[in-house]
Amino acid sequence: MLKRRTIKEDPLDLVPIMNLVTILIPFLLAAIKSFELSVIDTTLPAISPDGAPAKVDENPPLSLKLNINQFGINIIGANKYIYGEAGPPPATEGAAKAMIPCKSSGLCRGVKDYDWPKLRKDLTMIKKKAIEDKRDSDNVIFMPERNIRYELIIAMMDTSRNGAQLLELDIKTIDEVFKKDKNGKEIVVENQKVKVPRKLFPNVVMAGAATVPGKK
């Protein structure tokens, strides 16, 4: 005959939960993200094997090219939009060696030496005029010089793809960039939080690295 014991209140046994949590922690520590990754997608231009002409679009494409070197950035293929019908001014002695020279008025060494705001503004203007002209203007061809570091190419891609986002401008339409006050002077919209990221030239093509489509 067993003697009935008095019910003793045991404290809650947390040891199994403790075991579980202790096992979970190393796994979660391993999966921690200290930085967030994203990608920039680009494609190579395909060279058609039989030399067939590319299909002719109704809207003639704007073949905008960007060249980056140690003196700054050059915009090629949009002289009409930048300088008007008169064309570029004749080269003079002592003129800047690039269309968008370095901020430090010498050689550019790092990302911060390049004048990204000016590039963004020029590209936005070109985009606006190209849209008015009804020209296809989603492509931009990159022609960096051989010693230009990858970091600078990425910075240039950022600027040419989504110019507004880089400077955190609150721009909903391209016209807003060129807003003018009563006297016809341009108002610079700056330092506002971005709401609508604008795409300027979303398709980046790298010059000098073409793919050959193989036979299936």
Binding site: M18, I25, L28, S38, T42, Q70, N147, E151, A209, V212
Partner: protein
């Protein structure tokens, strides 16, 4: 016997406070949990550039260009990159493919390695096509490029050219999104 057992009974460890701590840690770890399929092992030789791009990476064949070597799918190629002085920044070095590794501007080993992946992709695509999938939905030919921010364009171009020759024509440059 009974008496002896009672003697060995000791005080229980109170783990409630530790449990509290663990629960709080668990919440923070869960918050920073990354479900991304693409992993990057950062090191001195692989510092990814910053960008404001917001496209999430997808799994594809990965080519890593570090300051010292090139890796395809985490397997290093059989040569180390040569260093030369950056003409723009005296004292700093840039990487290049050693001259004896170049042939017709395509890096042979990289090309051979990528060709294998392209062939495997093609085989899968053919099987799927036989089962009625449309070719344009199969979406191969994509490559993930993890390139150190100090790699010169000449090397980037060589890698892209080589990949292009091996029928990879979509490039995703992996970049770091700065914290907001």
């Amino acid at each position: 016997m009974k008496r002896k057992a009672r003697k060995e009974q000791s005080a229980e460890l109170n783990i409630t406070s530790m449990m509290d701590m663990m629960t709080i840690i668990l919440v923070f770890l869960l918050k920073s949990f990354s479900a991304s399929e693409v992993n990057v092992v950062p090191s001195q030789n692989l510092q990814l550039p910053n960008s404001s791009s917001r496209i999430s990476p997808e799994v594809a064949v990965t080519v890593i260009v570090r300051k010292d070597q090139i890796l395809v799918d985490d397997q290093p190629l059989g040569f180390t990159l040569a260093a030369y002085e950056d003409p723009l920044r005296p004292g700093q070095v840039l990487s290049s493919v050693p001259d004896d590794q170049k042939e017709a501007s395509a890096i042979n080993e990289l090309f051979a390695r990528l060709k294998e992946f392209a062939a495997a992709d093609e085989a899968i695509a053919k099987k799927l096509e036989a089962k009625g999938a449309k070719r344009k939905d199969l979406g191969s030919g994509k490559i993930l490029l993890q390139i150190d921010k100090d790699i010169p364009f000449s090397l980037v171009k060589e890698v892209m050219f080589t990949a292009g020759q091996a029928k990879f024509n979509k490039f995703d440059f992996v970049v770091v999104r700065p914290a907001e």
